[in-house]
């Protein structure tokens, strides 16, 4: 049996770096996904290295240059307080990606746990939990968010809690549906027969089968979370001024839109571009990960 293959090639495992480059190569095979992934990577780099890229501080007022249209010195122009819009957009990336990313991670962790346990146990626990989640899902996300923020008060932590509560039910349902189809397969039974504990069955046997669907859902939730954080900023209930939140910037620039349209267009454009980018990437992930099954 395949004696010509050397022992090393069979025993060696693909390193994570090789897997990462492999994954990227597959993502870049389709143009739409390539665009989305590039946009996402650029925004992440912007978030990481923003302070080095931005020519001015996010709150730095250049009184002599207030209300300037885009020019070589101020690429995106300046707002009515004389702040450089380009710097604010670049510096705002970190804030919005951090909040939505962290919120999504929290929602994915709690949603996965609830989905796994609920799907595997079934019965009354599942029934009650799913009805609670249904009632949360029945409310529009933004309305629920406003309601929660009204109770919690506006702060970064409240925004995280909002993302957690709004997206946990959605993630949990996706996970649960996969668990329902996997748990009846014989390998789960084999695991029970070997005497595996509940946690081991859930996280070691079942979770790996959930991962493709979960990754896609997490990417999608992330794009919606960006939108939600921006919306909350725009409504003035999330992060407070003078924070360079893109939604907040759009809201501030609204009053002067006829004279200073660039102060509105660039942050609004940033929101649109990153949301579309992440969405395209999620679409590509979906095609790649779910076709494999």
């Amino acid at each position: 049996m395949t004696t010509e293959i050397s022992q090393e090639t069979i025993l060696s495992r693909t390193s994570w770096l090789k897997r990462l480059t492999n994954g990227l190569r597959i993502l870049y095979a389709s143009p739409a996904t390539a665009v989305g992934t590039t946009i996402f990577i650029l925004f992440v780099l912007m978030a990481l290295f923003g302070p080095m890229l931005a020519p001015y501080g996010f709150n730095e007022q250049i009184y002599t240059d207030a209300r300037q249209p885009p020019s070589p010195t101020h690429w995106f122009g300046t707002d009515n307080l004389g702040r450089d819009v380009f710097s604010r957009v670049v510096l705002g990336a970190r804030d919005i990606l951090r909040l939505s990313g962290l919120g999504t991670i929290l929602a994915v962790i709690s949603g996965t746990t609830f989905g796994l346990v609920s799907g595997y146990w079934g019965g009354l626990f599942d029934e009650i939990l799913m009805r609670i989640f249904d009632s949360l899902l029945a409310m529009p996300a933004l309305l629920l968010a406003l309601l929660l923020l009204g109770t919690l008060g506006p702060s970064e932590n409240s925004v995280l809690v909002v993302i957690l509560i709004v997206y946990t039910p959605i993630v949990a349902r996706v996970v649960r549906s996969v668990v329902l189809s996997v748990k009846t397969r014989a390998f789960v039974e084999a695991a029970r027969l070997q005497g595996e504990s509940l946690g081991r069955i859930l996280f070691r046997e079942i979770l790996p089968s959930v991962l493709p669907a979960l990754t896609v859902e997490a990417a999608l939730r992330f794009s919606y979370a960006i939108f939600l954080v921006a919306s909350l900023g725009f409504l003035g209930v999330g992060v407070q001024p003078p924070n360079p939140n893109w939604g907040l910037m759009v809201s501030e620039a609204r009053q002067n839109v006829s004279q200073l349209p660039w102060a509105l267009y660039f942050p609004a454009g940033a929101i649109a571009v990153v949301v579309i980018g992440v969405n395209l990437m999620a679409d590509g992930l979906k095609r790649i990960l779910q076709a494999g099954d």
């Binding site: 049996m1 069979i10 060696s12 014989a186 084999a190 695991a191 089968s209």
Partner: protein, 348 residues
């Protein structure tokens, strides 16, 4: 060969298994509730296994045959406590499995394992072969990482696979190879009892023989005891020492394989055996088939008294009114039990 010795040594360590009988099943019942309506009230039950009793002796293979849906798989699963029995008892050695706490049961599980029907569903597609086989070792805290890896490679060699396959995934293997991986996993903790639940019915015919021979060799080498569940009658005759025939949740005939196959005393067994094709065209042309009338009755509402009376051409009033007793028509060494009022008629 050294494996054989350790396996027998292991078996002797299980407390109380000095007697000949390894597994004793007494009046085992498994009903699945049928629930209807908003309140999910129970309106009935599917009587998948309804009062099954038998013993499996150490070192023997008991074949369990019957058509689809007769409860043979459920019997195997209920013995291993994968399903909680509705009634009855299962003894393993002198331990009663049916009243064990879940932690006791978890410990006992290393002595009894199962080989599954579908080699595609029974291996986790996202785990490597090495992880799949070493899983039971990790759970029962056997050895350390290095010795486990060694054991996995030893098991792969034992079932006839390349021991360097440990980092491969199940999808890289054929059906027969996957079934070998399933067998290696079942053997990992050195169990003494194995339920083989239709282990070959999902495989190609040419591979079936290989896997059956492997099971046979392993039994010799490791001193295993099998409950072999199948619907392929000739394969069961080949591998089994004794055979039990099930119909609608009950055992209708059980005994030494040659007794059951050569002198079937139950009309159902006779019909079942008449369906085996003979690999000789002349004889095959003259083979008389007993065609049963009608369908198998629903196990949710089985016929009273003898369950076979609705389809039996010999049925009389007594069959519709009195449940037939299990009677032994064989000798002590070649026993032959049958549950039929008219068995004398066929016992010439």
């Amino acid at each position: 060969m050294s494996e054989a010795k350790t396996a027998t040594a292991q078996n002797e360590l299980i407390p109380g298994t000095t007697k000949d009988v390894l597994v004793r099943v007494q009046n085992l019942k498994k009903y699945f509730p049928i629930r209807r309506g908003v309140l999910r009230r129970q309106v009935g039950a599917v009587q998948a296994v309804d009062g099954v009793s038998f013993e499996i002796r150490r070192g023997e293979t008991l074949g369990l045959v019957g058509e689809s849906g007769c409860g043979k798989s459920t019997t195997g699963r209920t013995i291993l406590q994968l399903e909680k029995p509705t009634g009855g008892q299962v003894f393993f050695g002198d331990q009663e499995l049916t009243n064990m706490s879940s932690s006791e049961l978890r410990k006992a599980r290393r002595h009894m394992q199962m080989i599954f029907q579908d080699p595609y569903a029974s291996l986790n597609p996202r785990m490597t072969v090495g992880n799949i086989i070493s899983e039971p070792l990790e759970i029962h805290n056997i050895g350390n990482a290095a010795s486990r890896k060694e054991r996995v490679q030893e098991l792969l060699r034992l079932v006839g696979l390349n021991p360097y396959f440990i980092n491969r995934y199940p999808h890289e293997f054929s059906g027969g190879q996957r079934q070998r991986i399933g067998i290696a996993r079942a053997l990992a903790t050195n169990p003494s009892f194995i339920v083989a639940d239709e282990p070959i019915s999902a495989l190609d015919v040419s591979i079936q023989a290989q896997v059956v021979n492997l099971l046979e060799d392993l039994k010799q080498e490791l001193g295993l005891t099998y409950l072999f569940i199948a619907h392929d009658l000739s394969m069961v005759r080949y591998i089994s020492d004794r055979v039990a025939v099930m119909y609608l949740g009950r055992i209708v005939e059980m005994g030494h394989r040659d007794e059951v196959y050569d002198h079937p005393l139950h009309p159902y067994t006779q019909a079942l055996l008449s369906a085996i094709p003979i690999p000789d065209p002349d004889k095959e042309a003259r083979r008389k088939r007993i065609i049963l009338e009608g369908d198998v009755p629903s196990p949710a509402n089985p016929p009273a008294a003898c369950r076979f009376h609705t389809r039996c051409s010999y049925a009389t009033d007594i069959c519709r009114e009195v449940d037939p007793e299990f009677r032994n028509f064989g000798t002590d060494s070649r026993e032959h039990w049958v549950a039929c009022h008219h068995a004398e008629k066929f016992n010439d």
